[in-house]
Symmetry: C2
Subunit: 312 residues, 2 copies
DNA sequence: CCATATCGTCAACGGAAAATTGACAAATGA
DNA sequence: TCATTTGTCAATTTTCCGTTGACGATATGG
């Protein structure tokens, strides 16, 4: 039987408190977890869980095994980390996590480039706007725009993520161009729909004054691409990151409004590259970070969309 | 891939210095070891061995992995020991090592009895007159007659292993009965053939005097059963352990000579049960030891072959 | 100096142990 | 009460592990 897998399953069962829960986390069937636990018990000649009706409780033996197993698995993991970090050529599987829109636009195109450069490297791009767990999902590198990078991870600031309020020239011509934050209340204004979404749009003025305007739009998305498409179709205004709006602004398909105000979102102003401390020295992570800096530093390519005098 | 197996293979390769050697020790094919090492290197993205012509040399990365792997494997092993020792019902596989003759005669009959008593227990009896390694051969319990029990094992003295010089009545009638140690030189006398076998027969007299008589026999065995058969066939004298000779003596098929002298062999006078410290508390080991004591203590059944006055 | 044995490796095959599937009883909660 | 969830089991499929038998390369011995 597969030791590592069984032991990990056991630890997961202990931590989640149920086999079904562990199976979900481990992305396998309940039957397998059940069989692995049964196999462990058969091998050790010891009952690890007390299965009363529907509750799992660790037996004293199970507790002993749990403590030892944690140590052993940790030793195994630390071995792998230590050895893996010794190499100097990027190889193996690099799993990158990014948000849907940014990942599709600016990370996905990097994959063929980087894999072509390093023949032993494979890449997977996991696009999701939900928070992913670096450990659980085995993510080598997560690109996040967030206010507070996770504590248990190494967070490296890549660049500022600017946002603009914009709409199509057609829309502005028809509905009028907002000159003051208060004007926004009269416009169809799309906000990103997220769990803790506020119904207000917060703006930070040049002099530090803040304005909070209630958002009004009769359809909402949790997908930035949909918001972008709606804006491009002339359905209203939206706060868009410059990496999306920039090229369209330059081509004249979008115009910015209220340039003296900076939109505030729950995501913060910066994009971070996050990875677990154990992967700091991984060659594959290193070369990808270098590629990111080469692409986006000091100024990302999408930023030069307005004339120099208006670019602070 | 099978982590535990691959890591163990790697450690063995390091320790033996060659893949073929490791394969022999691990009882598998060279191809498998080779593939496991290659797989490890592929996974880690690191070269573990420098394969020049025909020598294997650890790379610096391999050295790091070796140190970590030792620790990790040790953690795994200690986990198994700790948990296995928690149970109280004998179960699993009990591997017993014993010498050919003694094992066949007195240990083998215990196996059906003990397995019948404990339904979850399986037994394997490894008979060999060669020294076995408790670790390498995964022996739970070794029965050895030796002068010096291994240092790294728990050795528990079970009982004295007496030996007698004997022959058939026919033989003694034909060739004469030796009255003094020196007389043995004129007889066909079979000694056990072992690596460091001396060609002499050493006797210890009642008063502490020692006699060393050259052994003369034109055929020799490294197998006690063959010696026994030869003696029973009237081909000569031999030193036989009482567990073999005893029953025949009582039935009158063999007679002892030079009863005032104790034959000295390289094996010492005592039978030990040896096991690694990690198995001290294993239920299966415990119950088998109890069975051994029940059978052979205080006096083994084969010892009462002479009349009480001659039994010291 | 050649013959032989041994070494590490490779590709293909066969089989054993995985993991999935689909079902079941038991137990919980609406 | 019914619907859901949980842990388990038997049967099936799939995966991958280990053997086999070969190869070139390289020591070793006569």
């Amino acid at each position: 039987m597969n030791w590592l897998s069984s032991w990990e399953s056991f630890v997961r069962v202990v931590e989640t408190g149920s086999m079904a829960g562990a199976a979900r986390r481990l992305d396998c069937t309940r039957a397998q977890v059940s069989k692995q636990i049964a196999e462990l018990e058969r091998n050790f000649g010891v009952r690890l869980f007390e299965r009363s009706t529907r509750k799992l409780a660790l037996t004293p033996s199970g507790e002993v095994f749990y403590q030892h197993a944690l140590r052993a698995l940790d030793a195994v993991a630390s071995t792998e980390i230590a050895v893996r970090n010794l190499g100097d050529t990027p190889c193996g599987l690099l799993r990158i996590s990014a948000s849907l829109a940014f990942g599709r636009l600016y990370i996905a195109p990097l994959l063929p480039r980087i894999t072509a450069q390093y023949p032993e490297l494979e890449c997977e791009l996991i696009l999701s706007d939900q928070l992913v767990d670096l450990f659980d999902d085995n993510i080598d590198l997560a690109l996040r725009h967030t206010k507070a990078p996770p504590e248990d991870a190494v967070a490296r600031r890549l660049f500022a993520l600017k946002r603009v309020i914009c709409a199509t020239p057609d829309y502005l011509a028809t509905h009028g161009r907002p000159e003051h934050p208060g004007d926004l209340a009269w416009h169809a204004c799309f906000g990103y729909l997220q769990a803790e979404a506020s119904n207000t749009l917060d703006l930070l003025g040049r002099n530090g004054e803040q304005a909070s305007i209630p958002i009004s739009s009769r359809f909402r998305f949790n997908n930035l691409d949909c918001i972008f498409d709606a804006v491009m179709a002339g359905h209203g205004l939206a706060i868009l990151p410059t990496y999306m709006a920039g090229p369209e602004i330059r081509r004249g398909h979008l115009e910015t409004v209220l340039d003296d105000y900076e939109p505030l979102t729950g995501f913060g102003r910066d994009l971070y590259a996050c990875y677990t401390p154990s992967r700091v020295r991984l060659p594959k992570v290193r070369v990808f970070l270098e590629e990111l800096e080469r692409q986006f530093s000091p100024v990302p390519p999408w930023e030069n969309f307005r004339s120099a005098d208006r670019n602070p």
